[in-house]
Each structure stands twice: as C-alpha cells, then as structure tokens.
C-alpha cells in the first residue's frame, strides 16, 4: 500500500502521464463570473495594509523574542516561546504564500523582501516553492501533478500528526537543503523547476545552511539552546498552527476535478486567525482569482459566495468534516467529501468525462 500510494502521488510516477493524457494537466478550470470592472477594483494593490500588518507581525516576533531572551531560564519562557514560536514557525507560512504570489504589496521589493524572509523562516526554498506553488495552482489536487497535496488518500496519518511538531517538514527541508547545496534537485522538483532557475536554488541552500551553521555554532559556544530556539527551532515547536490552518484547505475533498468549489474550502475565521493566516481561509476565492490581494478576499467572497458550495462557519466545523473523512479514507480510499453547490450556482465544471470526482488513480483505472 505505502509504495503504491507514494507512486500515485509522485510527480515522477505514472500518474503524471496519465493525468496529462486525460486532459487534467494545465486544464481549463471553473471561474465564477465577476464583471471586469469589479475585478479590476478587487485586484488593485496598496502597500498600506501589508506594511501595517507586517510591522505588527514583525513587532510581535521581536517583542516576544526579546522577552524570551530576557526571561531565559525561567518558567515564563514557556508561554513566551509558545507565542514566539507560533508566530515564527506557523504564521510565516501565510506571509510566504501571499508574497510568493506577489500580491501582498504594491511595491515589488517589499514583496520580494518579505518573501525571502518568510521562505527562510518556513524552511522553503523560495525558487523551488514558487514553481511548486504555480503547479499547485495549475493542477490543484490532480494526482501525479500537484506537488503540494497535504493529505494523501489514504492519509499517512502518523506523518500528518508528527508534522504538527514539524517532524516531517524539517528533516525533509534539511535533506533538500543539503541536496540543493550540492547542486542537485529531487526528481519531483526537476519536474517543475526549469533549468535556468536552478542556480538560484543551489545558492539559497548554501546561504540558509550557513545561517543555521552559525546558529548551531553560537549554541555550542554559549552552551545554550537559546540560539536554536530563536532561529530554526520554531519550525518544530511552533508549527502546530500552520498545520491546523493548512489542512482546512483541501484535505478529504475530491481529487482530479477541475473546479475549486469541489476541492477547496473557504472557512470563516475570527479576526485574530484572519490576521495570523492573512485571509488564506478564503481559499476557494484565492484559487479562483489568485491576483486578488489577501486584504480584498473578503470582498471577493461576497461577490461569488452565491456561486459556491456553503462556506464552513468555523475551523471546528471544517475539522468535524476533515477528521472523519481522513479516518474513513484509511479503510476506503475511494471515499471523499462531495461538495454540493448552493441552489442557483453555476453547474459543476466537468469538461472531461474521465473523472467523476472520486480521484481514482488514472493509471490504475486505465490498466483495469
């Protein structure tokens, strides 16, 4: 089961060719009809919201980091590091995401600067993941094509749980950093990173490894865990919230469909969570219209919500669906959560008869 499952999701396996042959690669996806004039308003960028939010975010990280140093060696450090680590190890994900799309700031160098910083914090190579995420948008949850499927079917449950403490992502990140520093890519990465871009990957890996080497040297020199808890370590002990948010995006939903209303969730969240997650909870809207900056997504949601499946009223409501779906998929890999569109919504977008949303492995189906 394990090997077969990994092969189904591998970009270097037979599913890639099968998806391409079935017309699922680079296909035409559904988009709700929003008048051009309104879309232009929604796509317009401004530096102010992202500068404001970034100043607050970096300010909170600096303040909690400063307090962590000041209270080092006391029990006060437990709650302080929980705050610092979560801001560093979880919320850098949403900053990485928005700046990776280039939509957060109007000024390009601000966007690129935060992208580089957030990529370092979340331990993702900025070049690899720009291409990886482009592919995720082209072929969202298409087997053999999407490199960012968080929950396979059936899920690798132990790994999903362990990753709440970064125990999967971090070892992989370091293995890849060493691989990249040696001037090589993994087979999956080679599928979506063009040759002219690869030198950037190798250079960045060497810079990131050098920073971690200095951090470890400092820890050894000072005979203290403090440097590691401040740099790098938060990707382990602070990764829990990243996973709480990330699994709401697609876990348990239909694979190999060409309609984000079927394979993506929009989840209502409170103001604090929306600040920490930079409105990525409006995920259907984001996938349908990636040019809309995070601070305009609530307005876009109002424009298209009538054309979608019902929104999830809370994170809890999303998990009441996700957990049973993942557990059932352990026994029944054909199970998925079928989203029903609201009455009056544009009908499902099914341009190919090759798949009905169950996401059966195409290569296996063809062979059968």
């Amino acid at each position: 089961m394990g090997k077969e499952r990994l092969q189904r999701y591998s970009l270097a396996g037979p599913e890639n060719q099968a998806a391409t042959a079935a017309g699922l690669a680079g296909a035409d996806w559904f988009r709700s009809d929003v008048p051009r004039k309104r879309m232009k308003e929604l796509m317009r960028r401004s530096d102010y919201p992202a500068i404001r939010d970034t100043v607050i975010w970096l300010g909170l990280i600096a303040a909690s980091g400063g307090l962590a140093i000041a209270f080092w060696g006391t029990w006060w450090d437990l709650p302080i590091f929980l705050v610092y680590g979560t801001l560093y190890g979880s919320t850098s994900d949403s900053r990485w995401h928005e700046t990776g799309h280039g939509t957060a700031f109007k000024t390009r160098w601000l966007d690129e600067g935060l992208y580089q910083l957030a990529s370092f914090m979340i331990m993702r190579d900025p070049t690899i993941w720009r291409w990886s995420h482009a592919r995720h948008h082209t072929d969202t949850l298409v087997l053999g094509r999407d490199p960012e499927i968080a929950a396979m079917r059936p899920a690798r449950l132990a790994r999903l749980i362990a990753n709440f403490a970064g125990l999967v992502d971090v070892p992989i990140a370091f293995r890849l950093m060493f691989l990249h520093a040696a001037g090589r890519l993994s087979p999956d990465e080679a599928d979506f990173v063009p040759e002219p871009e690869r030198h950037k990957v190798y250079r960045t890996a060497r810079i990131h490894l050098a920073i971690y080497a200095v951090t470890i040297a400092l820890a050894i020199g000072l005979r203290s865990w403090l440097p590691v808890l401040l740099i790098g370590g938060p990707r382990l002990y602070g990764a829990w919230l990243l996973n709480v948010y990330a699994l709401t995006q697609h876990a348990g939903l239909g694979e190999n469909v060409l309609d984000h209303r079927l394979n993506t969730r929009t989840v209502k969240m409170c103001t604090v969570n929306r600040f920490l997650y930079w409105n990525m909870n409006y995920h259907v809207e984001h996938h349908m219209f990636p040019l809309v900056p995070y601070y305009r997504l609530p307005e876009l949601h109002e424009e298209i919500k009538h054309d979608c499946a019902p929104v999830y009223p809370s994170i809890w409501a999303a998990y009441r669906e996700i957990i049973p779906a993942i557990l059932r998929q352990l026994r029944d890999e054909e199970h998925y959560v079928r989203r029903e569109l609201l009455p009056g919504a544009t009908p499902l977008h099914v341009p190919t008869p090759a798949n009905d949303g169950r996401g059966l492995p195409l290569a296996a189906a063809t062979a059968a």
């Binding site: 232009k40 280039g102 939509t103 482009a134 871009e197 040019l291």
Partner: protein, 104 residues
Amino acid sequence: MAEWIAACAAGDIDPEDVIPFGHAGRAYAIYRSPDDTYHATEGHCTHEQTLLCDGLVEGGVIECPKHNGRFDYTSGKALGAPVLVDLRTYPVKVENGTVYIDVG
C-alpha cells in the same frame, strides 16, 4: 510584410487596461496605458497559455491571472518566475479613433 488589422475603437479600452482580440485563429491582447498609448502582445501567457486579458494592468506591466507571471507589455519582456519567455509584441497605430495592429 505589414498587415494592419482594425482591432477595436480607441475608446473600447479603459486607461490602464487590456482587452482581448482574435484574428485568423490567433489571440492578441491590446493595452491602453495611463498616458493613452496603445500596445499589443500575443494573447496568451508564455508560461501556461492562460489568456492575459483577465489579468492586472498596472505600471506598464500585465500580470497573468493564473500564476501572476509579469510582463512589460510595451516590450513583451518577461519580468521573472514563473514567466521566463518574453511575449511577442505587435506594432500598433491609432487612426481616426480606431486601433490597428500589424499582425504581419
């Protein structure tokens, strides 16, 4: 050899915007800058062939609606990942309120 085709009326495009134009089975994108200069490029992004006419036009740049790839629409130059191949551009002229592009 020049082949000038009437594409649209000058007023059909808002300042700092783009519209699609099709001719002989090919897609084009026609732009109007804030300074009322007109420009034309091929209609699809060079990355994954998404139509550019749904993209964002701002500061002399067209941004692809699918992956946010950015091009200078006056020169066609690709401005960074995920677009690495320049757009083809076409000469444009405006005569008597009509925008013509040279598709030759």
